[in-house]
């Protein structure tokens, strides 16, 4: 099967030809399969945001090609615009893009641009609001009256309402409280399951990535340094740390326990996995 999105030797140089020339990403090759949940991590300025903006044609590669279902998305203006509805991108701090008089209208902005019927738009807006757990009561409020967390949800709903086949989120939980983070992640998981969508998520939280995604990509100075399952990636603790990142706390605990002489697997990366290891050690019985 052809991958849903493919990057082929993609490079992007910002401000090419000026003294400020700077390579955002270099020679990136990446294949994303239909239905995958892909996590992207990397230090600040490693090119994560630059890379994901290529996936829906918002920025054009200065070299290389981007394919959506095997078709070059930058072939023409029309294909690029078309792909934007199929590949939904939620930007970093999306709440700053809200602009309509009411939350409802703001969520409807995307579907409206898709030239859908009014009934269809209404359906989609309500469904998207339900996905992100925005109560009906805020729909007629001004988006600027909402709390930070609610604004974030409204902005995410604005993209979900377009029902994209691929949903990309750039640090969707940055700056939210732990409860808010969990809720948003759950909403995203639910969207993926219900729609069979492909999801790509950038995050700075190793814990969040570890317990959510099936595959992860590590970016380092504009290129892809690692690509694999969380278990594969977090097993390379030294490498991860040399890139200014860290492994999840749980992995560190397991490692310490192992160093202290307990015969456990130190490549665990979620609390549940560690629990299993520990209970196995006690000889069964989940009773801690």
């Amino acid at each position: 099967m052809t991958p849903i999105i493919e990057l082929e030797k993609v490079s992007h140089v910002y401000s090419e030809g000026t003294p400020f020339e700077l390579a955002g990403i270099r020679d990136v090759n990446l294949k994303i399969e239909q239905g995958e949940f892909l996590g992207i991590i990397g230090h600040t300025g490693s090119g994560k945001s630059t890379m994901i903006q290529h996936l829906n044609g918002l920025i054009k590669p200065t070299a290389g090609k981007v394919y959506f279902k095997g078709e070059d998305i930058n072939a023409s203006k029309e294909t690029a615009r078309d792909v934007r509805f199929k590949v939904g991108l939620v930007f970093q701090y999306p709440e700053y893009q809200l602009f309509e008089e009411t939350v409802y209208k703001d969520i409807a902005f995307g579907p409206k641009n898709m030239k859908l019927s009014d009934a269809e738009i209404d359906d989609r807006v309500r469904e998207a609001a339900r996905f992100v757990k925005l109560p009906e009561s805020v729909m007629n409020k001004s988006p600027f009256e909402l709390s930070g967390g609610q604004k974030r949800r409204a902005a995410i709903a604005g993209v979900i309402a377009m029902q994209p086949e691929v949903l990309i989120l750039d640090e969707p939980t940055a700056g939210l409280d732990p409860r808010g983070c969990d809720e948003i992640i759950d909403n995203i998981k639910e969207y993926r399951e219900k729609r069979g969508a492909t999801v790509i998520m950038v995050s700075h939280s190793m814990e969040e990535i570890a317990r959510t995604v099936g595959r992860m990509v590590v970016m380092y100075h504009g290129h892809i340094a690692m690509d694999g399952t969380p278990r594969d990636v977090f097993a390379k603790k030294k490498e991860i740390e040399s890139m200014g990142l860290s492994v999840p706390q749980v992995t560190k605990i397991a490692e310490r326990l192992k160093a202290m002489g307990l015969p456990i697997d130190d490549s665990v990366y979620t609390i549940d996995q560690l629990m299993l290891e520990l209970t196995a050690l006690r000889g069964g019985g989940i009773r801690c």
Binding site: P19, R81, F91, F109, M114, M162
Partner: protein, 267 residues
């Protein structure tokens, strides 16, 4: 992208030109502009052009970057040059139908182009090699005497430096919001004028709101660091003239003398 706009941009560097005192650069550029209009012969423009060329060479700024600034005015430039060529009375070089191209007209047009090109390149060289902060500091120092007649010099330059600092931030923000709305299918390019103006709303409203927020935050941050205006304020970087500044003044004085002599004797 919007970010590639270069007007009013600063390219950090460590050349002699970069290191000159901002006051020196401001004065020299001012004199240079006056001289551009004093000059009225090709010889005088060669003299002034040599000075400009030397400064450009010393600054290490690529000529391409400087010429980029001329792009926006190119149409006006051609238009006025053409007007000058056809409508200046004098000795005709040749006559097309009933309009004649005169020798004086050609010369006027050439002067006009030379003046404007040199004016833009010269001022761009100033902004490319001087950080906005240094520029406003220099301006404030030069305008200090005006305080005697109750001109709020410090407040004016502070406003200017804040405005200058916000330009790149606003451009970046515009870029970002534009991308975000494009991701939701906004179309800023097609349609007639009214449609285009309407399409700008999703860009302008968030931009406006974030500017207000930024302004408020900045005011708060300045006040919480005890900013209270000009009185009793000290500076981390004191402006001091160095040897190179005196050299620059001397060079400018000599050029001015040459230019004025040329103008007086009609070369």
């Amino acid at each position: 992208m919007l970010r590639d706009i270069t007007l009013g941009q600063y390219f950090p560097g460590s050349s002699v030109i970069h290191n000159l005192d901002p006051r020196t650069k401001l004065v020299v550029v001012f004199v240079y502009i006056v001289l551009l209009f004093v000059g009225n012969s090709f010889v005088s423009y060669i003299v002034l052009g040599a000075l400009l060329a030397a400064c450009i060479a010393a600054s290490g700024i690529k000529l391409k970057m400087l010429l980029r600034g001329i792009k926006p005015v190119i149409i006006i430039l051609i238009f006025t040059a053409v007007l000058n060529i056809f409508f200046t009375p004098g000795t005709p070089v040749f006559t097309l139908w009933r309009i004649s191209v005169t020798y004086e007209g050609l010369r006027m047009a050439a002067y006009l182009i030379i003046r404007i090109v040199m004016l833009i390149t010269g001022t761009l060289l100033l902004t490319y090699t001087t950080s906005p902060l240094a520029l406003t500091d220099g301006l404030e120092a030069l305008m200090r005497p005006l305080k005697k007649i109750k001109v709020p010099v410090h407040e004016l330059t502070m406003m200017m430096s804040i405005a200058l600092k916000f330009i790149p931030i606003l451009i970046e923000e515009t870029d970002k919001i534009m991308s975000a709305q494009k991701a939701r299918g906004a179309d800023f390019e097609t349609g007639n004028l009214i449609q285009k103006a309407k399409a700008m709303m999703p860009l302008l409203i968030p931009l406006f709101i974030s500017s207000l927020r930024r302004a408020e935050e900045l005011a708060m941050a300045m006040e919480s660091r005890c900013y209270h205006g000009d009185d009793g304020r000290t500076r981390m970087k004191q402006l001091v003239f160095a040897g190179r500044d005196y050299a620059a003044f001397a060079l400018t004085a000599v050029t001015a003398a040459v230019m004025i002599t040329l103008a007086v004797f009609g070369f």
